[in-house]
Amino acid sequence: MRIAVIDHGAGNLVSIVAALERLGIDPVVAAAPDALEATDAVILPGVGATGTAMARLNERGLDRALAAWPGPMLGICVGLQLLFDTSDEDGGSCLGVIPGTVRELAGRPLPHMGWNDVHHRGDPLFDGIPSGEPFYFVHSYAPVPEDPAVIIATSAHGGRFTAAVRSGNRIGVQFHPERSGTAGLRLLSNFVRACRQATHAA
């Protein structure tokens, strides 16, 4: 099982790499498109601003490579937001693999920071995790998908917002599973397990 963690230059990769190592995965940190040719799954992490992250991906030619990547993909926080068409944060365009836009949350204080309930609809990503379980969030923006059917979980901060999406094998979570205790590790292990099954089936 090979998993590439995309390095877009801004964020903390230690926590996601350490979480995957706990699950017995030795991930490859990828900063160039060729790394995608030899991997079974991709994780697009975490910390940063969307404009800066997109600029880095563009510089490295990773934007087109990621948009064309056919395998399982998990976007985390900013990585989730990058999957959509555009973001209000920096006004720029994102990867555009899931139709929709990224908008500022209505709640205050902002950023929405801390542990908040995640209500899910039984997607396999949440196997073994009760609906309402708290996960750690740190963000000011969240995606508004064009097709509400891709929303697999929500949370609330001044109104409900999208906490997780699935479009085929492209998945994204607005919270940080790598920083959400045992529930977060469980979610990552559910993703890894689904990737393993997809790899074996192929």
């Binding site: 964020g11 908040n116 529930a183 469980r186």
Partner: protein, 259 residues
């Protein structure tokens, strides 16, 4: 509902956790990684790690220690101490921090907040403010680990910092630090009213009732404490039980089994 956060703080000097009273008389409180792991197991919602020697001795943050500590944690982690530039902040984030606190360098050059927020997003920029009361309803900002007065009004500085790019304020009352007399509620309430970013109360925690006060009367989003946790005077679970009985939303231990 968003939970109120309990944040144990590890002040680190020369690779050891230390604690003082009103920023002086430091005593050794243990190994940072051991303590951080214990707090996570006990239910800490977040960990804060301040390299308190970094600024005045002009040393860089202890990146190696940050890296090793971050790898064992399953909750978020803020690091501060000696962060003076975007490059410093990048190094700390890449060492494994989720958020980075800036203090002295931001006072010296407020544009640092703009630059850090542009590079990494405001959600990981924490403005640490050390404030001392003048006894007449105002508070002054101190820098260099509480060693240097600035003449800057603390409420104004918090508002300016939030406007420039800080995503959170870590507000320490120097008057209460290490005293266990309770947080400075007036200071908290004033800052709460001046900004709409999260505020972490720091300085003065002696028991769980002080934390309830800071969260309710002070309007804080999170409470930070050091000595009462290091010395096992108050377990995090016990603190959370008190908060819950006061009607505050807290995170209880997860029933989800680790994979």
């Amino acid at each position: 509902m968003l939970r109120k956060r309990i944040i144990p703080c590890l002040d680190v000097a020369d690779g050891r956790v230390v604690k003082g009273v009103r920023f002086v008389d430091l005593t050794d409180e243990g190994d940072p990684i051991e303590l951080a792991s214990r707090y996570v197991a006990e239910g800490a919602d977040e960990i804060c790690f301040l390299d308190i020697t970094a600024s005045h001795e002009a040393r860089g943050t202890l990146l190696e220690l940050v890296h090793r500590t971050a790898a064992v944690l399953t909750v978020p982690f803020t690091v501060g101490g000696g962060v003076g530039s975007v490059a410093d902040m990048r190094a700390v984030l890449r060492a494994g921090a989720d958020k980075v606190a800036v203090n002295t360098a931001a006072v010296r050059r407020p544009r640092l907040l703009v630059e850090c927020a542009a590079a990494f997003g405001r959600q990981c920029v924490v403005l640490a403010v050390d404030a001392r009361s003048d006894g007449a309803g105002s508070w002054e900002v101190y820098t260099h680990g509480g060693r240097r007065a600035t003449g800057i009004d603390a409420i104004d500085w918090c508002a300016a910092g939030a406007a420039l790019g800080a995503g959170e304020i870590l507000l320490t009352s120097m008057d209460r630090d290490g005293t266990k007399d309770g947080y400075d509620i007036d200071l908290l309430a004033r800052v709460r009213a001046a900004v709409d970013i999260p505020v972490i109360a720091s300085g003065g925690a002696g028991d769980a009732d002080h934390m309830v006060e800071a969260l309710v009367a002070g309007g804080a989003d999170a409470v930070l404490a050091a000595s009462i946790f290091h010395r096992s005077e108050h377990a995090i679970s016990e603190v959370k039980a008190t908060l819950a009985s006061a009607g505050l939303p807290v995170r209880v231990p997860s029933l989800v089994v680790a994979p």
